[in-house]
Symmetry: C2
Subunit: 269 residues, 2 copies
Amino acid sequence: MATGRTHRPATRSRGIPEATVARLPLYLRALTALSERSVPTVSSEELAAAAGVNSAKLRKDFSYLGSYGTRGVGYDVEYLVYQISRELGLTQDWPVVIVGIGNLGAALANYGGFASRGFRVAALIDADPAMAGKPVAGMPVQHTDELEKIIEDNGVSIGVIATPAGAAQQVSERLIAAGVTSILNFAPTVLSVPEGVDVRKVDLSIELQILAFHEQRKAGEGAAAAAAAEASSVGGAAPAAAVVPPAGRAAAVARKGNPEGDVPAVMPA
Amino acid sequence: MATGRTHRPATRSRGIPEATVARLPLYLRALTALSERSVPTVSSEELAAAAGVNSAKLRKDFSYLGSYGTRGVGYDVEYLVYQISRELGLTQDWPVVIVGIGNLGAALANYGGFASRGFRVAALIDADPAMAGKPVAGMPVQHTDELEKIIEDNGVSIGVIATPAGAAQQVSERLIAAGVTSILNFAPTVLSVPEGVDVRKVDLSIELQILAFHEQRKAGEGAAAAAAAEASSVGGAAPAAAVVPPAGRAAAVARKGNPEGDVPAVMPA
DNA sequence: GGTTGTGAACATATTCACAGCA
DNA sequence: TGCTGTGAATATGTTCACAACC
């Protein structure tokens, strides 16, 4: 997941578990594809496969929404599309603003899936006066000075932040002061926001780091060692990066303990 | 969060819980900032605040890595930076390829945080022959034909897919066949990959939909109704979208049951 | 005194397995 | 017979609260 919630304790929204909410869009996408192929019904098994989850989980998820299936038959595709859309609040459309029209902001503005499903880009906002008026994705970029007015005039409640990290907190404060209550943050910073404001973050480098962690493990496992314990089912000191996969310096430091300094030339700042 | 794992059942990697792994990059970022300000030590309380989590969670997370703190004092910043970097596999650098150099791919190629922390963009690959040779982020785009050669020559094990949805599955297959074992997928599709390959996905529209869900709830709560049960602590039918927030059609359909058709004009396909 | 590290309690999420129904 | 819906079992994650230690 390249995703994550910030603040907001775990409110278990309206009886539907967060984990379920996070999967509803997945189901919706799979159902939409079926709908386009005019498939009338699906079983939990088929739909689960299309969404990349297992069928028990899917059925449990749907059970939180109500009893929308038919035993022995499956789910009516159109009906489910509607129910999930409604549950997600996509039966109305949400104006959003994108703040920070750099490479990423422009990419977001051009992203089709954005507009297609209940969301409408109401404005593109950037702090650079040179950007003002320039068309991006067929829409003129507006200057940050206009931010409050834009939010209010359009009734925007969802803001997307694609600014550099340094600007993000301040932008979020202005958005929130103007009435935004949900933020999708692409800037690599922790935003601190008042209670009642939802923040979700998308962070490239975090995702890559998580992948690197798993890569490292794979490398450590496979190669160069039936040596260390694989027998010790869990818990014992596990093989660190016994062998380095593509090319690079191995880190052969002892784990656990090692209380003394050691601290070798640390990473890129 | 904009993220999510696909496939790979929850392997609880090397004794460190997934949830903890997903937070390590957050801690690392906060620590790096402290390190740059030459702060020598932090308490769990301070660091937790900087990372946007609570201190108990942070201490528990660190306890999986070992005992790297000093009671009554806190954690040595440099030492922790090193330990976490090592744990995440960032003490070596990982060549990555980006496939699909459209708006998003270009944005990723230009993204600084990419290169800065253990990752190196080894190549930009696109299927459009017209793109070939064009410089993006100071690097010539290469044609898809070269994909296998590039992966092998550079020992790439991490691939980033930023192609349209339709191309993603096929690209992932070629990447995997050539030796990639971790994929960061920006295309809005479920990739199906063999066991042993990690996929993480970043999906804009999923994140927005999750935000919309919570927005809808907020709207339904506040306005126009002490009407429905707020007293019924949990479980009972809860207020649906009683009132629509910015502007839009309300969906006043009965929940739970409603076995008969109904299916009104469904969403944008 | 102050802060870590961690068992135990609690909360959430996933999976199993089967009763109930079309 | 086939598939949903769901309790019960299990697994994972979070929080509490305090003993251990500097």
